[in-house]
């Protein structure tokens, strides 16, 4: 079996005296779609922050495709092929929607800090940027300032920026939050298509989305993974039901 795309090994994190992540062990396989669910404040986003390098871990080890990335700087991790979105919208407000996406393309296309290229001349990059705008249905807004998009459109842009990084491991933190059912289904379709052949790690509270997307699901409660498995296994796990799904009726074939 190939090395895990992501491997968390007894990762701990505490802020001051309050310990938020109490020993995380998680293995995300190459090419799988892995969903994280769990009550509010369980530490899902924190986990994302730890993996993507925004926070330093207090202890433990994180490996990306077998490479140790514990406490590496975010941009370095990103360059190793990991892209993430944020739960609270996090875009470049004063730049146009188009520029938002294009910037996300620059590094992967190898332009680094170049002062020798003119972005407007980079046919391929611009082409791809427009392509992505198509996918997230923002072409019409291409030259608007990102700041004036409506909330849902900003969420879409958030995803757009993330996928533009061309990473093969994509982490999405509640991508469909604030979308209507209708858009949610579209978003799911989008996510499906863009993560084709890639590894996806997604946090969602919308069970519809989760069960629709995920190959495997891990349940995070108070900083620990209490269960991992296929959607059905998880859905039927009594621990999970009382800890998370609550009285949301779920009929189990078992």
């Amino acid at each position: 079996m190939a090395t895990a795309a992501l491997k968390l090994d007894n990762v701990k994190k505490n802020f001051g005296d309050s310990q938020i992540i109490t020993g995380l062990d998680l293995e995300v396989l190459q090419g799988e779609r892995h969903a994280i669910i769990g009550p509010n404040g369980a530490g899902k986003s924190t986990m994302f922050h730890l993996i993507s390098g925004l926070y330093e871990v207090s202890s433990g080890k994180i490996a990306l495709k077998g490479r140790n990335i514990t406490n590496m700087a975010p941009h370095k991790i990103n360059r190793l092929g990991l892209a993430r979105s944020f739960q609270i919208t996090n875009i470049f407000p004063n730049m146009t929607v188009f520029q938002n996406v294009r910037c996300a393309l620059l590094w992967t296309k190898g332009y680094k800090y170049s002062i020798w290229h003119l972005c407007d001349r980079l046919k391929k990059v611009n082409g791809q940027a427009h392509e992505i705008l198509e996918r997230i249905k923002l072409s019409s807004m291409a030259n608007e300032k990102a700041a004036v998009l409506s909330y849902a459109d900003q969420r879409a842009l958030e995803i757009g920026i993330t996928i533009a990084c061309g990473a093969d491991i994509i982490m999405l933190d509640e991508p469909t939050a604030g979308m209507s059912n209708q858009e949610t289904t579209q978003a799911v379709a989008l996510i499906k298509s863009v993560t084709e052949g890639k590894t996806l790690l997604i946090v969602e509270h919308d069970m519809g989305v989760v069960f629709d997307l995920a190959d495997r699901i891990s349940v995070l409660v108070y900083g620990k993974i209490i269960a991992t498995g296929t959607p059905d296994e998880v859905r039927c796990d009594p621990k999970v039901q009382e800890a998370y799904l609550g009285k949301e009726a779920v009929e189990c074939s078992a």
């Binding site: 146009t96 590094w107 290229h117």
Partner: protein, 440 residues
Amino acid sequence: MIENTTMDSAEIKGGQAVQSGFSGAAIAKWAGIWLGFILISLALPKIFDSRFAMSMFNQMGIAIVFALSFNMLLGQGGLLSFGHAVFYGMGGFGAIHVLCMVNDGELRIYTELLPLAGGIFAAILGFILGFISTRRAAIPFALITMGIGELLLASSLLLPSFFGGEEGIAGDRWTEITILPFKYGQAIEVYYLILIWMFLSVAAMYLLTKTPLGQMANAVRDNHQRAQFIGYDPHKVRTFQFTLAAFFAGIAGGLFAINYEMVTAENLGMLPSTDILMMTVIGGITYFFGPILGAIFITFLQLVVSNITHAWMLYFGLMFILMVMWAPDGLAGLIMRHQPIWRAKRMTKILPSYLVALIPGLVMFAGVIVLVEIMFHISLSIDPESPLSIMGVSFKAQAFMPWALGILLLGVGGYLFKLAARRVNQAWKTVLAEIKQEGV
């Protein structure tokens, strides 16, 4: 939403609205603008050939480069520096020291290349100081740069061998070692030298805004955290941007050194730093050409107005404040606001309202001038008793009439202006509404 975006206050933080794609038309347009720019500057000394004009143009050229370099930080990088003159000054010192060596025959370098020396020296320094100061942004950055400026200024007295103490370092640009067939004794020759460097720098800085680094500078300005997650190290981006800005500031400093043949520590102090800040802001930081306007406009005022009145600093301060309040994106912003209307060929619809506003505006302004001048004359002139003359009319400052007149002008003008302003607003509203409907 066009209007909304141009007026959007957030833009004071910067943000080029660069349209993507290089259509043939666009290229033609740019080529046209640049060509015109060049031709005009070449023609200038033929039209105005007084020595005064010459030294003014020279200062403008230098200011343009300096202001643009400053806007690389503020406009494009969202980094407000209170110590940008450090690199202007250090560039100057770099150049002047080289010049001195040339004078002493220790070195043979073409006079034309001195600014480059200044630029490189400043860039090296800029990289070091940039690395330190760009670890923070926003206000902390502003304060760090201010601190560094004050620090160097204070240290200038302690390191006379480099800064030359209060007297500064002087050199003689007439070195006979030149590429062009010039001696650079006369101001006009210096003008052409400055011109060349100005165009090189302006072009370079314009193109830089379109490079990946330039774009990422904007991105980091907007949201440095997210920039990390698309593979960029904000600190590096800022450091590079800072270094480049320092480089061009250094070139400006080098030009200064050539123009005045002496550099003193005050070139790198707080004052030049804030001067350039004002120039840039008045010109407008949101558009690339803003600082150019600012540099030309302010230099002009500094030289011309200060010749006419001693109160000009006061007028300057007033103007600056009014600009910050009513035109946060500067002269450039004021102009660009009309772009949509212009495109829609609707200027005719608002110009009348402008004219209506203009007259009371002038009246009000006249009122201000009269009052300020009177007060200045009474409290500050060598001999208050001597008659004061404004625009040819001369009278006794202590008399009652002028006061009354001034106040009257001010009051009436102000009142009418208020009304007129409403009309302008109305005109705008209607026009923009029309444009929206046709979706022009």
